[in-house]
């Protein structure tokens, strides 16, 4: 497609450009974990507990070991003896977690043994023959039951099922509740779902006894992954080399197979052969520890008759399953956007992270913000309904105004910039809101259940780790940098080195576009490679919608150093000041004298070969690194828990029209518009793609997807036949309307967009469904709003009216 000039005056940024990554994917040349084939590689199959809670009485591995082709059977006894427990995000040192259980199993699907064989098929055959004797123990599945004083303890040594609890009070909450004209209270429930990538988790490892180096290839998206793997394996950090050039087949925050990796690394070293584990779908769904937030909110809102929201009380209980990891911190990130895009001056927030005998939770797109946004937006609609006020009018009244930025919210975070009213207006215009209302009303007259939903939500971006220090005073992490190295070789070609793997975010395109922008060189000719962890600069991986800001900022910083070097070389050779020169397309000439020029090739030649023409004090060769800390940085929280969470705040408004079949409860999304402002877009196709995808995730979370558990603790939706992922038939045509409010904090004005769509879609869809149910006098505040759940409400209303 023809390249278009960027509307914002950039040369490459913001223009429609093809990505660097796509050609290898359409030709079948992607390089995923399951494509790793090492000479002599062995394969793992896992033995999983069928019980949600049990004591392991004995394990007999002999029948499995007798199968030809089986090399080894590892149990938790040996594994836990040889490795350290995995990292816990909050202060709960006795909630120990390993890849293989020893003594006690705490959820159905937990791994108890690993079989290593010549092929995966043989390993699976032999895994069936591992005889494990269990003694059933009590268990707890419901999070509220787990909070009861006499509840079964998932981790006895921890002394409680509560991993984290605190009540934050920011501002005069009680006073606001006392003075407000009205109050209302309700419960909103976000079901246990996840982003469930089509690629399961995979990892291969190879130990070299000669060098003492463990090589790891994994479908990974995780900060500090190499450090944590090394620590658990009791190896020095420089004995583990993680290869970041593995294409990750989708992640959305989730691909953090640290337990898988420690297991595979241990076996590779223990057995002296390369070993690979590729989860099958059931292992992934049940034992992969990749479920998402499972959370209910008890919401209280204090508001005046004119629609002013005075204060909120939010009690959030999140069921993280049987182990901790980083999942309790998913209650922490929303502190940084706890009032959403609204001027709400007093907030009480009481998060509780509770353990049950279910599959553990992992970081999911938005890190807890999507459920929080859903609860906030249900509150807005409920207030509007209570006051019989227009929902858009109520939002307009409470939204932070453009002239109020930077805007400090009660929990201590400053929002960088925004124009929420303008984005809302654009989206309303795009969908022709008055016409949409007429369409809905006519559908209702014709006897159909029809509703419009609106949400106005924030996407915190530029991810730092303020929630760690907020939720765990023993964790003093305030650094969360990212880096880039730019190199110009003797031929004049440019290479950018990034220091993490990618799972579809188009980082190679991002880095090459930014370098090309700064150096005024064609991004198509710039190569971007992924380092391995031993040759990498510091990175914290693509979490928290941070890479456009952090990797983009680092790449720009490194490129600017290269540019400065080139100008310095020219200044030295022209015997003038750098201020007398101008840089154009990589060539440097004396201002106003285009003929007095040193070309890119000449400058590169000097840098690499002609030391006698180099200015003093400048390194020969032409490369530069830039390590960038998150702008605003994480701050140390105040005693009452106020903290600067993420630096940048993208905004999205969703308007969706739904019709529900009254006979089946089946909802159909008929119209969908999303107004989106993430500042300056580096590559609009990538931003739009992630936004469409985030909306599809939101459709799944709100209408279809649930890791359902039976009362006896079994996962009832471990396949794609019962865990329902929206197809192209459920996801409607989506129209995105862009708006650009640059961030004052970033290199080009960009904000993050990796979680876009997902942060506002469930809220809007829930509001649309409730608008459709409103004439029946019923409502629903529990996700997913399955066909059955909707049908039950519709039927109950019909019975009532009969």
């Amino acid at each position: 497609m023809a390249e278009e000039k960027s509307p914002s005056g950039f040369r490459y940024i913001g223009t429609k450009r093809r990505t660097k990554e796509d050609p290898r994917f359409v030709t079948g040349r992607g390089h995923y974990a399951a494509d790793i084939a090492l000479p002599g590689m062995k394969h793992i199959a896992l033995v999983a507990s069928p019980h949600p809670s049990a004591r392991i009485v004995s394990i007999n591995t002999k029948p499995a070991l007798a199968v030809p082709g089986v090399l080894y059977v590892l149990t938790g006894e040996e594994f836990q003896g040889g490795t350290d427990a995995l990292y816990v995000g909050v202060d709960a040192p006795k909630v120990t977690r390993y890849a293989l259980a020893r003594g006690i199993v705490r959820y159905a699907g937990e791994w108890v043994a690993a079989v290593v064989a010549d092929t995966r098929a043989i390993a699976e055959d032999a895994a069936e023959l591992v005889e494990v004797e269990y003694e059933s123990l009590p268990y707890v599945i419901d999070p509220e039951a787990a909070l009861a004083p006499d509840a079964h303890l998932v981790h006895k040594a921890h002394g409680s099922n509560v991993l984290y609890h605190r009540k934050f009070v920011w501002g005069p909450v009680e006073e606001a509740f006392a003075k407000a004209d009205h109050k209302l209270a309700f419960r909103a429930t976000w079901g246990r779902s996840s982003t469930v990538p089509i690629e399961t988790f995979g990892v291969a490892a190879q130990w070299d006894a000669g060098t003492g180096l463990l090589d790891i290839w994994a479908s990974i998206q995780m900060p500090k992954f190499p450090d944590q793997a090394a620590r658990a394996l009791k190896l020095p950090g420089n004995a583990v080399r993680v290869h970041f050039d593995v294409d990750v087949g989708g992640s959305y925050g989730l691909k953090r197979g640290i337990k898988h990796t420690v297991l595979v690394g241990f076996l590779a070293k223990r057995l002296g052969v390369p070993v690979r584990l590729i989860e099958d779908r059931l292992e992934n769904m049940r034992g992969g520890d990749m479920h998402g937030p499972d959370r209910f909110f008890d919401m209280q809102v204090a508001f005046d008759r004119d629609g002013t929201i005075r204060a909120l009380k939010i009690r959030a209980v999140d069921d993280v399953g049987a182990y901790a990891g980083r999942s309790p911190l998913q209650l922490g990130k929303p502190v940084g956007a706890i009032c959403g895009p609204y001027q709400i001056r007093a907030i009480e927030y009481e998060p509780t992270s509770v353990m049950t005998n279910k599959t553990p939770q992992e970081a999911v797109r938005g890190f807890g913000q999507a459920p929080t946004n859903f609860a906030l937006e249900r509150a807005m609609d409920r207030v509007a309904r209570y006051l019989k006020m227009d929902r858009i009018e109520l939002r307009r009244k409470n939204l932070i105004r453009k002239d109020q930025f930077p805007y400090l919210i009660p929990s201590g975070t400053s929002y960088d910039s925004g124009d929420y009213h303008a984005v809302l207006d654009k989206a309303l215009a795009a969908i022709d809101y008055p016409a949409l209302e007429r369409e809905r009303d006519e559908a209702r007259k014709a006897g159909r259940l029809a509703g419009i939903g609106i949400s106005t939500c924030l996407e915190p971006s530029g991810g730092n780790t303020s929630f760690e220090i907020l939720f765990n005073p023993k964790n003093e992490t305030t650094t969360w940098m990212d880096s880039c190295l730019v190199r110009v070789d003797l031929s004049g070609s440019i290479t950018g080195l990034m220091n993490t793997s990618s799972s579809g975010q188009g980082h190679e395109t991002l880095v090459s576009t930014v370098i090309g922008e700064v150096l005024e060189r064609d991004p198509a000719a710039i190569r971007v490679i992924h380092a391995d962890s031993l040759s990498a600069l510091p990175s914290n991986s693509p979490v928290g919608s941070r890479m456009a800001i952090m990797l983009g900022g680092a790449a720009a910083g490194a490129a600017r150093k290269i540019k400065d070097t080139l100008v310095a070389i020219a200044a030295h050779n022209f015997e003038c000041s750098p201020q007398d020169l101008e840089y154009r397309d990589g060539n440097v000439n004396v201002k106003g004298v285009p003929s007095k020029v040193l070309t890119w090739d000449q400058l590169v030649e000097i840098a690499h070969r002609k030391y006698h023409q180099m200015p003093p004090g400048i390194e020969p060769g032409l490369q530069a690194k830039f390590v960038w800390e998150v702008p605003t940085g994480p701050t140390v929280p105040t005693p009452d828990g106020r903290v600067q969470m993420y630096p940048c705040y993208s905004f999205e408004t969703h308007i969706v029209y739904v019709e529900i079949d009254p006979d089946t409860g089946k909802p159909s999304l008929k119209r969908y518009v999303c107004g989106h402002d993430c500042g300056v877009m580096i590559n609009p196709d990538i931003v739009h793609g992630m936004t469409y995808g985030g909306i599809a995730h939101g459709i799944g979370a709100s209408l279809y997807e649930k890791f359902a558990y039976t009362e006896d603790g079994q996962l009832a939706s471990g396949t794609f036949m019962d865990y329902l992922i929206p197809s192209a038939m459920e996801v409607p045509d989506i129209h995105i309307v862009d708006h650009c409010t640059p961030s004052p904090l970033t290199t080009f004005g960009q904000k993050g967009s990796g979680e876009a769509g997902y942060l506002g879609a469930p809220a809007a869809i829930a509001n649309a469904v409730n608008d459709a149910l409103d004439p029946l006098g019923v409502s629903i505040d529990t996700l997913p709003m399955s066909h059955l759940a909707l049908w039950e409400r519709i039927s109950s209303a019909a019975k009532k009216s009969a």
């Binding site: 995923y32 396949t719 038939m729």
Partner: protein, 163 residues
């Protein structure tokens, strides 16, 4: 293992391939592990996600639900066989790049197969026909919008004679 082996002959991407395989070897494992055609991906292993889609005698099928022995005597096309004879990208592949119809790329080979199946049967598909044709292929990244756009784009270009 002394598993009984069966001999098969399959034309894969225009090349005759022969092998001795156990009865329980799935077609996708044979393609990926034995022939090292790793472009075809495994997603769910129970026929829902469509990541493993290939063409069998010109029709899209799921290679995770077939055994290699069932492909004996048939013609298989994988994503590696979608390029033009000179090695350049086909229009369909190019349209996927042009419209950025992917992110992580994992479902992409299956999507291309589904789209190829559609466009060979229907040169002017509607939006609904495109969505129905890829309805059995799950994508978690794109929300399908740019995939639908890409298939429309390819249909238009192919209608005007592009290859």
């Amino acid at each position: 293992m002394s598993e009984k082996l069966y001999s098969i002959s399959v034309e894969v991407n225009g090349v005759a391939r022969s092998a001795h395989v156990p009865a329980r070897l799935s077609l996708v494992d044979w393609l990926r592990d034995d022939l090292r055609l790793t472009g075809t991906h495994v997603g769910c292993e129970h026929g829902i996600c469509g990541a493993c889609s290939i063409m069998l005698d010109g029709e899209p099928v799921r290679s995770c639900l077939m055994y290699a022995v069932q492909a004996d005597g048939h013609r298989v096309t994988t994503v590696e066989g979608l390029a033009n004879p000179d090695g350049s990208m086909s229009v369909l592949q190019d349209s996927f790049c042009k419209c950025h119809a992917m992110q992580c790329g994992y479902c992409t080979p299956g999507m291309l197969i589904a789209a190829k199946g559609l466009l060979e049967a229907n040169r002017h598909p509607s939006d609904t026909e495109i969505r129905a044709a890829i309805g059995g292929n799950l994508c978690r990244c794109t929300g399908y919008q740019q995939i639908v756009d890409a298939i429309h784009d390819a249909a238009r270009r192919m209608a005007s004679g592009a290859k």
